[in-house]
Symmetry: D2
Subunit: 342 residues, 4 copies
């Protein structure tokens, strides 16, 4: 059995750990060999391959990034995409594919399996943790850890200067990173994309916090929006993936808070530090287990599924189902955190 | 409603985070007030109290240790223990108790509720993660993180000098810390208390690892034992809690490996660094949620239960049931890790 | 002897460690007692004091921020400023002052000593390390450490996506943080305020780096400026200290690189995370030694001096001299780093 | 010009960073090429080489260990050692040698230059910081940082359980790591090899610390010895380098403290975690500068010297002089720290 492996979408700590586990168990446990495709589906389209064997994955467990590279190429949007992938797989005698990626990458894998009989197994990857089929995805814990350490450092600056500190974290459509790092970092206000925030309420919390003689930390997800939609974003330009750049909410908010409360406010945008670098111990463990179970699914010939975490178990879930619904923050969970606001 | 709070047993990162959440939600959400008992059940026996209000828990989220102190006093082993506790609760007009601790502390809480009608809610605490009623306990992720960072550092020393490095981690009866940190740290062999290890097998893994030109890391739980029971412990003395000091397995193992393989071996005993200091982001989140749900159980008048994590939910479990069975490492899970041995 | 202590200027890890050392040695070694002034010279002007004794400094060694608070109040710009300070000192029977701060705070101390006979000893504090009288100031090593860890994390993101990552670090007038963190983090280009940069050269380095199949990291100090002065800053507004906000160079640069090289570029502004939180081991050691030697200067009655690091020794330097000249990056040192550019 | 490079002696974070700087500047700045010798002088004796060029050092800046391997082989103790080295150098057309190592490695380089005309430049390496010719050596700051983080974690355990925690750190002949990490970690007692300690005094400090309601941390260098020499070491066996294993002082001390004070005491031996893993930002900077200046000395044809840090400058020092005298902790410096004891 020869298995192709690829990684798609944005950077996420743990990708290399998944591949190491896939290859170690595939080679040593089942006698498979492997071929890596460079830059996600692009490599599969163009036949751009990377050697993927035990020496290739040695030392990769703690390494961030992906040794295969990544892209957002979608074969269904390319001329003859599916046909070209079939040709690549035939040429390299690839029997099955392990696709590691988010909604887009796994959506392609689902269609390739369902509509074209390509034997795919998926491993879910989203740093935002917004996939409904799994309790957690790897990378998320690392992002929360990095954000929490930053918030820890900002507390003393806030208090020494009696300033408001606004921390903008990742999360365009789901507020998981904001919620977890805000709770873990002791934020005085957490704003998430799932619920439009009331600027007056935020300013009231800020003011009440100062009255208690402490300086507030506001954690805001990059996708959070004020009520009334009156936020003027820094610019309306599109990034290279066609998304509007939303990175301005933190700065917008700091300016509003200064105007409404008379307190000095500063913004820190954590940005890409949240998604690079070595994975946390939790993410290495989760990524390793995902890899081991993905290659087991290959051995079992169970195609069109992805691995998922449920409690402490790794289970298999149909790909089509898994990618159907975004997992957003439950209103009850957000309300639970509200006791720490203000 | 006046609620007493106490922490019992060994140090565990997250204890203060639990208390902060209990007090914040209790005071702000429900208008309760609180009294802390110093040093676990000892404070409840002797009426030794600590002020516990919102100023007392301010800044405690990231702090290791416990602001209330801890002990292993068991009121059922003290003269008139239960009676003296009842008197303390009456004197301080305490209506309910939140007991944060491990098997022993929660076992006392269970009996006080069941046999004597004391209104107790429990919060589970075991750094070893060996409680069957909950997916994880706080403190465990911190311990695994500290151990993984240490293993990361030891890899380069092992390889620069072509030595075997034996890392002894916590875990007297359950190998969870060894299993998770060994997987996350890329250990070449993980030894746990649940399965007696075969010294010849360990030496064979060590030798095969050197043949591949890499130096091995062996992670061993402090409670791991060789087959045949032929390990001569460093000393047979009892510590102050009446446990035999088992801290010698790492050193014993290094000596055996040197003798059997002819390779130099060194031991690092991580010891108390695993259980002190600031909690990881995961543990702060878990401890905070445990605290919020414990005070909700108090509000609901649901006595004799403890909070527990199931997937991403916090649930309530009868105390008596929760402490009945040790959660040890499932043989299948240990076997899964075996692909990385040697 | 009663000694007043105050901290002025921006947040800097190690301020509390200085005060702990001053108080521990002052009380235990010399039998002095202490009074803290809140918020720098403001507290001395207004007689706003804080208790400062051994219990007050307990546990403060690892804590960021300043337990006394800080401000940028300058008594020479206040009505009757010097007179009011004299009154406060007389009222609280303060014999001598230990002033911990930067150029402004120490400049006030120098004039109070020289012109008004107030017995002052200074401890230098600048996170930017731009004071010529001392090899290093505390806080600088922490800032470099935080920035280096961020750069470490950004490398993998840069390489996985073949993007340019621009990291903006602190340093308005001196490029020390950029130089040290850029060298330690393996940056492919470091831009400092001391030398206007040539955008074409930066773009040439970026392009050559991509040719070698690696994605570049550009570290830029917030005060760096392009040749020709054609940078359009994000806004020209003044912050509350009357400084123009320069925080836009990173973003400006990323946009220029995208336009000139056709490569995607992203910016991360590290901001206040560099100056908050627990001090590094080096900074705790330096701050502690500064504190011990400052109180020795008080005991010796040597006024108008500040402590300074020379090699591994702590020496005393006249305050007036110490604050005269900004220590900027030596061109030879910057050239030395140039071998790693591109 | 072809330059040979080798690393000798124990593991030390920053070795790879030195080599990266040597090679980057040598190749790009001066057009040299390089050959690496495997395992220190052993590789030079046996002609065992490693390719050393720009691709070989890519990504090595943050990596612990040494890509060349290390040993303690001494050519002056080998049959025909010097002759065999000359043959290797001739065969590989090596014009000059950069030797990175401690007293032993540099001592060999000194004799090879002085007695046999081999063109050597040295880079000092000792994690213990005990070389008198330089303010600091790389690796030392990393070791102090690791030890300080461990002490931070141990404080909470000490206080929660009111136990004495003894932390044994590296330092056989010099107490620099103990002194710096003890000061930075807020230890209540620091014991160094330079001064025999008085057990009664240590116990008095422990007791007085408990009276102030806090639990003590004792930091002890592995080479510290009690007055009277009555310490019974764990064993008198020799390790593979012929040194007596001294690693028992921590445990011995904890037992003595328990017996003399009646307080529970525990020991943590930090061991090899102090010398492995990624170098700190400071050490990466220092190692990089050492490498740049070493290759400059080669270019200048200045043989028989090593690079050294003086203040913030890198200077050249005759090898023979540099290795002559151990830099131990100055009694005045140790006394300065004494204000924090007890």
């Amino acid at each position: 059995m020869r298995v192709g492996v690829l990684t798609g979408g944005g950077d996420c700590p743990g990708l290399n750990a998944v591949m190491r586990a896939v290859v170690r168990k595939g080679v040593q446990g089942y006698g498979y060999d492997f071929v890596g495709f460079r830059d996600g589906w692009r490599g599969a389209l163009e036949g751009d391959t990377v050697q993927l064997d035990i020496p290739a994955v040695r030392g990769m467990l703690p390494r961030g990034g992906t040794l295969l590279g990544s892209s957002r190429t979608n074969p269904f949007k390319e001329q003859n995409g599916v046909h070209r992938i079939s040709e690549t797989l035939a040429k390299h005698e690839v029997d099955a594919l392990v696709a590691i990626g988010g909604e887009d990458t796994l959506g392609v894998a689902a269609r390739l399996t369902d509509e074209h009989g390509v034997k795919c197994v998926g491993v879910p990857k989203t740093i935002d943790n917004d996939l409904s089929a799994t309790d957690y995805t790897f990378g998320f814990n690392t992002a929360v850890t990095v954000a929490t350490e930053a918030i820890d450092r900002l507390h003393t600056t806030a208090e020494s200067h009696m300033r408001v500190l606004v921390v903008e974290v990742m999360g365009r459509h789901a507020g998981w990173i904001a919620l977890h790092s805000g709770l873990a970092g002791g934020a005085n206000c957490i704003l998430i994309p799932e619920q439009r925030f009331d600027l007056d309420q935020v300013c009231a919390w800020v003011t009440s916090r100062f009255k208690a003689s402490y300086a507030p930390i506001v954690v805001v997800a990059e996708g959070a929006m004020p009520k009334g939609g009156d936020m003027v974003l820094k610019d309306g330009s599109l990034d290279s993936f066609g998304h509007v750049r939303l990175s301005g909410v933190g700065e917008w908010l700091a300016k509003q808070i200064e105007e409404h409360t008379g307190k000095e406010a500063r913004t820190t945008v954590l940005g890409h530090t949240q998604r690079g670098g070595t994975p946390s111990a939790f993410d290495r463990w989760l990524a390793t287990r995902f890899g081991l179970h993905a290659i087991d699914a290959v051995r079992d010939g169970e195609w069109g599924v992805m691995v998922a975490l449920r409690g402490t178990d790794i289970v298999r879930v149909p790909l089509a189902e898994a990618t159907r619904k975004l997992k957003t923050v439950d209103p009850a969970l957000y309300e639970e955190a509200g006791v720490f606001f203000g």
